[in-house]
């Protein structure tokens, strides 16, 4: 019996599912490794928000640049980072992306335009604006994207960045991952208005989308990116989602109703995508095969990271400054 290719809508759904599955599997494994004491420091998981990072990344090209935040594992993986070096970094190993100096909050890969996760709320916005300025002046044809949470909407530099980007018609996509929680406090108790109105205040185009529907996120992101790439200036894409885990792993979330978490769990973007894929004709075996394949990939990356060598202080010290650069005569 000859196997026929699935129709393109189905294959696109399966690609999005595969990408989300990779983020989910990687983060679930990070959660377990953290609980077992194998990850130093602290980590912030984006479980339940995978449709945002994957949906937006589906609209990007390799050399589009991306500035991320503290909850950035999904952004990094969706942008195409190597899984081994990702896990090596988060486990604090020499061959990790940052040679063990950054960890979860600073994963970066310049070869795919990933300008770094960031430990400072809102700090990625001006970095993306500057990166967009460079794209525009250097006529690279690329755009910059920044992911930030609803909490960042209260940071002053966000407002400066929205104003500057709109004023200079820069090719930048602002993705507000509105998960309803700013650390331990509901967004409603932090913001006097909402992201749509904030964008409007700067005359910026804005879109709002169900951030747990990966197809809708991808469609909205493609539309926004096409306009940005065409030179029409920035856009704010608000993805409404819900944080499932705590602000950080180990956060008991005593400030949160059990019903709020249960609601978030019922709206799992992976389950929704799986249902959509099956309804579109994808066989269950294909979904199961993707799950198994992803689990194997993550297993392999974790094994590589566990056996990685620790970083040496002498190498770290040598990288504070660039090698000496002489002034040309």
């Amino acid at each position: 019996m000859g196997r026929t290719d699935p129709p393109s809508a189905t294959s696109q759904l399966l690609e999005l599912y595969r990408a989300m599955r990779l983020v989910r599997e990687a983060e679930e494994r990070l959660g377990a490794l953290f609980a077992d004491g194998e990850i130093p420091g602290f980590i912030h998981l984006s479980i339940g928000q995978e449709a945002v990072s994957v949906g937006v990344a589906a609209a990007l090209q390799q050399h589009d640049t991306l500035a991320s935040n503290h909850r950035g594992h999904g952004h990094a993986i969706a942008k195409g980072l190597d899984l081994d070096r990702f896990f090596l970094e988060i486990l604090g190993k020499r061959d990790g992306y940052c040679r063990g100096r950054g960890g979860s909050m600073h994963v970066a890969d310049m070869t795919v335009g990933m300008l770094g996760a960031n430990g400072i709320v809102g700090a990625g916005l001006p970095i993306a604006v500057g990166s967009a300025l460079a794209h525009k002046l250097r006529r690279t044809g690329h755009i910059a994207v920044v992911f930030f949470g609803d909490g960042a909407m209260a940071e002053g530099v966000l407002h400066e960045s929205l104003n500057l980007a709109q004023l200079w018609t820069l090719p930048v996509l602002f993705v507000c991952e509105n998960n309803g929680w700013s650390e331990f406090t509901e967004a409603a108790r932090q913001l006097a208005t909402d992201p749509q109105r904030m964008a409007a205040a700067y005359s910026m185009r804005a879109l709002q989308v169900d951030g747990n529907d990966v197809v809708a996120v991808a469609a909205a992101a493609r539309m926004a990116v096409a306009q940005i790439r065409a030179g029409e200036g920035p856009c704010l894409l608000e993805c409404k989602t819900r944080r499932v885990r705590g602000h950080y792993e180990g956060d008991a979330q005593k400030y949160r109703d059990a019903g709020d978490i249960a609601t978030a769990l019922r709206n799992d973007p992976l389950v929704r995508c799986e249902v959509q894929a099956i309804a579109a004709g994808a066989p269950q075996e294909t979904i199961d095969a993707i799950k198994a394949e992803i689990a194997d990939r993550v297993d392999a990356a974790v094994a590589t990271a566990r056996s990685g060598a620790p970083p040496a202080p002498v190498d770290a010290f040598a990288d504070v400054y660039s090698p000496t650069h002489e002034l040309p005569s």
């Binding site: 640049t65 500035a67 990790g96 992306y97 940052c98 040679r99 063990g100 100096r101 950054g102 600073h106 970066a108 890969d109 310049m110 300008l115 770094g116 960031n118 430990g119 400072i120 700090a123 916005l125 001006p126 970095i127 993306a128 604006v129 500057g130 990166s131 967009a132 300025l133 460079a134 794209h135 002046l137 250097r138 690279t140 910059a144 002053g156 530099v157 400066e160 960045s161 104003n163 500057l164 004023l167 200079w168 770290a316 990288d319 504070v320 400054y321 660039s322 090698p323 650069h325 002489e326 002034l327 040309p328 005569s329």
Partner: protein, 324 residues
């Protein structure tokens, strides 16, 4: 060789750097059409156009953060901060982003950006427009900090900062912008990290930088009338600073005075004194003395500001203290 003003030398350095490298751009409040609050960027808009010479909104945090992102995406941005006091608004971009990117990302990326800012008093600009905050920046691993004292160095340190692959803070004393000096037609390079002996002497070493260099030289002339010959060292670069040159001078003079306009406590002078008390202990014939502003904000009234800023008399007294 021609006589130019300090601000004109920086202007020429910017022109030469922007001519040599199309990736160099200029961002700042009023730097383009108005030509800069102190006129340092005059003419650059006409020469290089509005894409590369950009008037920005009054958004110090965003323009400095944008410089970080632009530097990571192939440009060499130069940001002008109108007064050094406003560097407070840029601290996340400088301290958490620019300074750390190279290290934090495992050497994947450098951040070749320059931030120019005028510091210091002398124009009665008051507590929020006169501060010398360079010690803050010199305290941050990953940043370089330079502070020219002469027209020649205003040119060549600016060039060196722009070509450097790391974030460099160029501190310009606002009272120096109108000062005149000689600038060679083809100025020689001044590498970051090397001090200059501004005057040679055998009896005491005065280490200083920026606008205080000429004050220290005036003090040295006064001291010479009493038969005391002072070595005056112009640091030029504060991070990294030229420990070898200071130590070599101390080895000749055995007395050390450090002078800056910034408040004396917890300053550049404290670091140099601590270091020389360690590596130069055996050379010292007297305690190290610092001359700096008293521990208070810079005041506005002329009488207050004149009293607040170190002058030649205070430096002379400090040198004599080490000789007594």
């Amino acid at each position: 060789m021609s006589e130019v003003r300090f601000g004109q030398a920086i202007n020429r350095a910017l022109i030469d750097a922007m001519t040599a490298d199309p990736s160099v751009i200029l961002l700042g409040e009023d730097v383009a059409r108005p030509g800069g609050p102190f006129g340092v960027t005059r003419g650059l808009l006409d020469k290089f156009g509005p894409e590369r010479v950009r008037d920005t909104p009054i958004s110090e945090a965003a323009i400095t953060g944008a410089a970080v992102g632009a530097a990571m995406t192939g440009l060499r941005p130069i940001v002008e901060i109108m007064f050094m006091d406003f560097v407070t608004l840029t601290m996340d971009a400088l301290v958490n982003q620019a300074a750390k990117a190279r290290f934090m990302f495992g050497g994947q990326s450098s951040v070749p950006m320059v931030v120019r800012m005028p510091h210091g008093g002398g124009i009665n600009a008051g507590p929020q427009h006169s501060q010398c905050l360079e010690a803050w920046l010199a305290h941050v691993p990953g940043l370089k900090v330079v502070c020219p004292a002469t027209v020649a160095d205003a040119y060549s340190l600016t060039r060196a900062a722009i070509v450097d692959d790391d974030p460099v803070i160029v501190i310009e004393h606002k009272a120096l912008y109108a000062a005149k000096g000689e600038l060679a037609d083809s100025p020689t390079a001044t590498p970051i990290g090397r001090a200059r002996i501004a005057r040679e002497g055998r009896d005491a070493t005065i280490v200083t930088y920026g606008a205080m260099v000429s004050v220290a030289l005036a003090a040295a002339v006064e001291l010479a009338q009493d038969g005391v010959e002072a070595d005056v060292i112009d640091l030029r670069s504060l991070q990294p600073w030229d420990e070898a040159t200071v130590l070599a001078s101390l080895t000749r003079t055995h007395r050390l005075i450090i002078c800056h306009e910034a408040v004396e406590a917890f300053g550049i002078g404290a670091e140099i004194a601590a270091r020389m008390a360690d590596v130069g202990f055996d050379e010292l014939d007297a305690p190290i003395v610092r001359v700096g502003a008293p521990f208070m904000p810079p005041p506005f009234a002329k009488t207050l500001e004149d009293w607040y800023r170190p002058d030649a008399a205070k430096i002379v007294a400090a040198v004599k203290k080490t000789m007594s």
